[in-house]
């Protein structure tokens, strides 16, 4: 059975996972504040880490991703859902520290920045999958399909259109490289 860690699991933990949260009135199995030291697990413990609406809250994204990478097995996955910075939800929660876009995790990819590795972290992961959700109206017009099926269009959308044709959520699946 795959070992799954649900980080910031809240009241509805992912079935079959180990839930981690800082709030004791959630479904958490382990209580831990990500901003105060690392994860209380050994290296290479999990096949999958799930973080739904969590990365926009942490004090240090790079340190947190390094911890996720450490406790994930080689070839394991880190799955994150977070608001796109053009969505209203990014600005509704007064504990959101970061406003992110589809390129916000380039630092971790091999050859991430125009074919060159970035030096902010030594940890590497591959973007196995990215799914962008747009507001309903724009989905109906087919923009969501375009953003998800053409890299070029996604870049054009981020650069030119995203303040009008606003995003909603981003769902990243990273494959851990060790």
């Amino acid at each position: 059975m795959p070992r799954i860690l649900d980080v910031g699991c809240g009241p509805t933990k992912y079935p079959g996972s180990i839930g981690l949260d800082m709030n004791p009135s959630t479904a958490a199995d382990v209580l831990c504040n990500l901003d105060r030291g690392g994860l209380p697990f050994r290296d290479n413990t999990f096949d999958e880490i799930r973080g739904e609406h969590i990365i926009e809250h942490v004090a240090d994204i790079i340190a947190t991703m390094e911890e996720f990478h450490r406790v994930t097995k080689p070839g394991g996955t880190i799955w994150l859902v977070t608001p796109h910075y053009t969505d209203f939800s990014s600005f509704r929660d007064p504990t959101h520290r970061w406003h992110l876009n589809t390129y916000s995790f380039l630092y971790f990819y091999p050859g991430g920045m125009h074919g060159r590795d970035m030096w902010y972290t030594k940890v590497r992961m591959r973007e196995a999958k990215l799914n962008v959700k747009l507001l309903k109206l724009w989905r109906a017009f087919g923009f969501e399909f375009l953003v998800n099926h053409s890299r070029m269009f996604r870049q054009f959308w981020e650069h030119y259109l995203s303040f009008i044709i606003r995003g909603k959520l981003m769902e990243f699946t990273f494959e851990v490289i060790k």
Partner: protein, 175 residues
Amino acid sequence: MPRILDIGCGRKKYPGSIGIDMSAAGQADVLCDWEKTLPFAESSFDQVRLIHIIEEVDNIFRVLAEVHRVAKPGARVTIITPHYTDHASYCSPAHRWHLSSFSLWFFSDDPQEYDYYAPANFRERRVHVELLRLWRAFGFQFLINRARWIRRFWEYYLSFVIRGKTVEWELEVVK
């Protein structure tokens, strides 16, 4: 006479209030690092003002919990902050948070689920959005402030074009 507290009063302290600030350069009556604790007794103010200050604090919930403590039951709390679509939200590198007109909904809409993060209890008496002058002239400001659903639609679809300026809340302290 009502007792008024002006937090982060700077150079323009609210008339008749007690001003508190970290900097001695302004008109503050009390100088201290007020972000962790306010140096006042429980239930001692009828009105608390936080004007262009919550976008700079380390933890908005902790500050509002302290405001709740020093305010009398039924006291009014006035908060003004830049809307996240206004350039002013990004002008100062001291601005930690970029907020919308629904950023304080934790206190009123969904008290149960978010009690852990926002234990203090406030009632949202009034939310008012100011827009840029051009949009105000076209009547958008009037429309947005008229109904909650219009404001919501504006936040989701229009606010990066018809840009906001400031958001003003009036909260009532519930004890």
